[in-house]
Symmetry: D2
Subunit: 143 residues, 4 copies
Amino acid sequence: MTAVPKSVFEYPVHVYPHHTDYAGIVWHGTYVAWMEEARVAFLRAHGLNFAHWVIAGVDLPVVELTLRYRQSLGMGMDAMVRAWLEPRRGVRLVWQYDIQNQATGETCVLGTVVLAPVDRQTRRVLRRLPAEFQQDLDRLYAE
Amino acid sequence: MTAVPKSVFEYPVHVYPHHTDYAGIVWHGTYVAWMEEARVAFLRAHGLNFAHWVIAGVDLPVVELTLRYRQSLGMGMDAMVRAWLEPRRGVRLVWQYDIQNQATGETCVLGTVVLAPVDRQTRRVLRRLPAEFQQDLDRLYAE
Amino acid sequence: MTAVPKSVFEYPVHVYPHHTDYAGIVWHGTYVAWMEEARVAFLRAHGLNFAHWVIAGVDLPVVELTLRYRQSLGMGMDAMVRAWLEPRRGVRLVWQYDIQNQATGETCVLGTVVLAPVDRQTRRVLRRLPAEFQQDLDRLYAE
Amino acid sequence: MTAVPKSVFEYPVHVYPHHTDYAGIVWHGTYVAWMEEARVAFLRAHGLNFAHWVIAGVDLPVVELTLRYRQSLGMGMDAMVRAWLEPRRGVRLVWQYDIQNQATGETCVLGTVVLAPVDRQTRRVLRRLPAEFQQDLDRLYAE
């Protein structure tokens, strides 16, 4: 995967019935929601309120998503979604994820999500962010 | 339940893995999505495009929802969502649902959903609809 | 609604993007998942591990679900799912919910969920629970 | 992407409210469900009943998932999920997806999903499938 990140955000999740499928384990699409939650919680923890961006007309849609499934998680288990931001590359934000079984510390799912800022109305990629949001990001990368 | 409806809309659904939970049967919240799909498909079949309402600033949120679960549906089964509109009562739309196992014709879930038109910005109930949408509804009830 | 409950369980939820729909507010079916989470967390807080029940062959499916929507919750808001158990009536468990906007304390959604214990294989209602699980429930109601 | 496939399966989808998020477009995780539906429908169209595999103790979990998002799909739009199977490589099944806007024919999302057969109880990868299921797959690749 990547080098050891300087700052990993940990977002705990409990496996509830609605996360599972017929196999008694977490349905593969459920992780996409968990990763979104961890990402938004990470931003909040760094003083960045994503809902404010959206109200101000800037959206941050996912443009790429990759998941590799190694181990399953069963109902009633506790998972830890570990997320970190890759070093800055232009306007895109690249997140790495390592979702672990809390009880064993084993990696269950590895993920990468790439976001790109767009104008909420036109859905076009923004090459420059409004100053306020650029400061949000600068702060995020500085930490 | 209610009297036999004059016009029942039938919306077929196949049970895919993501609809199920650890028990191997349809998760109880999945039916809420199926009922929404059947409702919107019903409206489309009667020439009413819900997305147009929303673009024009009128939303139709659910204000009440009731489900009674009688039988489960397993993965790979085929269900028929049978939906009909109750006779008009003011601005609210009252939908009844009978979700059946296609193979046996048995009722699996009975549901009721009540919608109320609201202004999309203020989220306040609209006592009068814009003329265009009122005509949409009049047509719906006339059939 | 009902009389003031003796013991209310509080389960906090943040509104993430995947909880919302085109209207920018929580999609009406999302609350079904939150209510399930609050219920299972309540049971855990009282020493009852739902996953153990399932492994032992006893399931607790939802047999009735009622939701009344009063106010919407927007993306980025914080909600509090307040849940309590109605006094015992036979083998069924009756849960009441009052989902509030944390910032204002206003009720957004009122809900009722009825569960019935079934044999996991046959899906038939169990008139008597295995002793271990009966003790779980007795403890739950005693508190 | 890959060479033109010999046999593309087309699975139409309508964008319902529950597929969307606050941005009024399909939430990025929704595509994972659509891809699963298209895959299972493809198998059914080729006489392979996935639920039978599961009952017989063979599961086909997703081991890798990649999505690239190019254009959004708004509520009320019609999409076509185009899916095909890559030439056989060992026991893994590699699916390619091109999800298009039906009205314009433009590609909205490109996806790849890799499945691996596992024993349902042990979750270990099966190097050999039971003869019945091997024949299912041989038929799938022969077409």
